[in-house]
């Protein structure tokens, strides 16, 4: 595993940026400054960051309702993201999509998605296009444990494995499908076990260890890029917050929450960076402060941007 100091510090910065973005959303949502629902990625930062650190701009991702982390990790613009969450015209979707519809096709971000499990067929289609064009690009579909129960999971994995498409199915198993614990909706515990039903490899990995995610996703992405077909990678993780902001998460056992908070991916990486003398605490503090400043700037940009004119309801409805 050849992660250099600069790469690791970049990964750390990405994780801190996601943390700062989502923490700010907690604050502004509570203050009633943003419309609509938000599903936050707090606690799962290692997954998106570890996966996307293996991707190139030409590669595609299909995201979920909990998509901010994926978008930031793939290089999404913070100001355009924040403006979209605020519903402003400078946002990615001109303020008409909100948190769950942010996309940036130029960066290979095929969109967050309000429909659970809908990203898998989209990524499979993108992977078909990559194979058809023979451009060496790959697609990654992020989805949760609940989404792996949906028909789209079967359809996408079945087709992708049959056609040997360059796609990675990346399950973020945070143990909760909205408020349903995994054991109440699945008779298995390791979603990677489902891979054998499609004749593809499946692995489970500690989703709160960004190095472990980077390695496993890297191996899966390399397989896809070399033409060896799809892989199912399960990252076991935990969301710190409720399903959406406003959900107090009362269904979670406080003991579980406490145990998982001890496995928070950001302090784990910090510990490694300090131990290896890749950084001193002051360096890490500066990175955090810088990311928080970036987010403040994004908020200012969003707040100073105009709301869409009501007439905008009738634009962008149909393609020309």
């Amino acid at each position: 595993m050849d992660l250099k100091k600069e790469q690791l510090l970049d990964i750390y910065k990405k994780m801190c940026t996601i943390r700062a973005f989502e923490s700010k959303i907690v604050e502004i949502f509570a203050a009633g400054k943003i419309p609509g629902f938000v599903h936050l990625y707090l606690g799962e930062e290692a997954v998106a960051t570890g996966v996307c650190a293996n991707l190139e701009t030409k590669d595609f991702i299909a995201s979920t309702h909990r998509g901010h982390g994926h978008l930031i990790a793939k290089g999404g613009d913070l100001k355009s993201m924040m403006a979209e969450v605020f519903g402003r015209t400078t946002g990615y979707c001109k303020g008409k999509g909100g948190s769950m519809h942010i996309a940036d096709v130029d960066l290979g971000i095929l969109g967050a998605n309000g429909i659970v499990g809908a990203g898998m067929p989209i990524a499979t289609g993108a992977a078909f296009a990559c194979k058809y064009k023979n451009n060496g690009a790959v697609a990654v579909a992020f989805f949760g444990d609940g989404a792996s129960d949906r028909a789209t999971f079967h359809e996408a994995l079945n087709l992708a494995s049959t056609w040997k498409l360059p796609v990675v199915f990346l399950c973020e198993n945070n143990g909760w499908a909205i408020s349903n614990s995994q054991k109440t909706h699945q008779n298995i515990t390791d979603i990677s076990d489902r891979a054998s039903g499609y004749g593809i490899p499946g692995v489970s990995v500690d989703g709160n260890d960004v190095i472990a995610v980077y390695e496993a996703a890297g191996a899966a992405i390399e397989r896809a890029r070399k033409g060896d077909g799809p892989t199912l990678v399960e990252c076991k993780t935990w969301r710190h917050r409720g399903h959406f902001e406003g959900d107090p998460g009362a269904y979670k056992d406080p003991k579980d929450q406490e145990e998982w908070l001890k496995k928070d991916p950001i302090p784990r990486l910090e510990k490694n960076l300090l131990k290896l003398n890749y950084a001193v605490q002051a360096d890490l503090d500066k990175i955090k402060a810088d990311t928080e400043a970036d987010i403040e700037e994004a908020v200012k940009f969003a707040e100073s941007s105009p709301l869409p004119d009501p007439q905008e309801l009738f634009t962008d409805v149909y393609a020309d």
Binding site: T189, D190, G202, V203, E215, A216, T231
Partner: protein
Amino acid sequence: MASVGIIANPASGKDIRRLVAYGICFDNLEKVNIVKRCLLALAVTGVDRVVYMPDYYGIVPRAVEGLAKAHHLSLDIVEADMEMTGTQIDSAQAALAMNQAGIGCIITLGGDGTNRMVAKNCGDVPLLPISTGTNNVFPQMVEGTIAGLAAGAVACGLADFPAVHRTKKIVVLKNGKPVDMALIDAVVLKDIFIGSRAIWDEERIRKVVVTRGEPDNIGISSIAGNLHPIGITESKGMAIDLGPGNISLMAPLAPGLIRPIQVAAYKILEIGEEINGEKGPLVIALDGEREVEVGEGEEVSFQLTFEGPRVADPRLVLRQAVAKGYSQGEQAMKKLHRLKEEN
């Protein structure tokens, strides 16, 4: 009262070696099936009680629940007295609980890594390891029914040396203090992170210390096996430095991954001998998994001992048991009748 423990690792056989090599995909359903076969066999050997490690999948409870009604067992099947963490620590905790409960034999389902955790706390309780992992030098590819029969025979006192024998281990010392152990191999890697744990890339290996090595091993110990084989009961081990040298060989480092190895030097180790002088930063892999991070300024050493766990060889155990008449005559029929009556 004869009792047997079952430690079935729900996480074995699922790591990155299914991507970077061709590791077996062992889903938990098959582990449940193996345990079913073990339980049915244990029921006819005279074992009264089975103590099992709780796990997040529920391998043993699912096995009990999944048996056909006609195969209902009257064995006393209880969970080990321990708190489940859902991590590899559970295997060590379960072994401790079983050791303290006076269990006669522990069946393990896992690979070398699982058995390493069990071996930390099992004391003198013999292990009967069934292979469900990726690198399987310590456990055997044994059918569940046969494993159950053999474990039952051990627990009922029908087998002894050499069917049940002591194994070797490597004690890992950091700055002179023991910090961990390995049953098969300890490997010094150029890595700096534990990450996804598995090892498969020979370019990253600096040094290998083994308790044994056969050409038919899979994993790092196969380097020793293809250099100078060392058997399970031989009072020696080996330390190998990898790098440019006069010896080149091929070895199956992971399933399907037969790699060229350059050996700079090697040394046969005597029991008690210590290998010193590996300085951090580096990572030590134990029995195929990256486990110990050694920081800058820290030094690690390895000591070979013959104080590993006792292990039961199912074929030899059953031969001894047959010689003692366990499967013949009135007693054997009574055991079968017992099962039949229970049904």
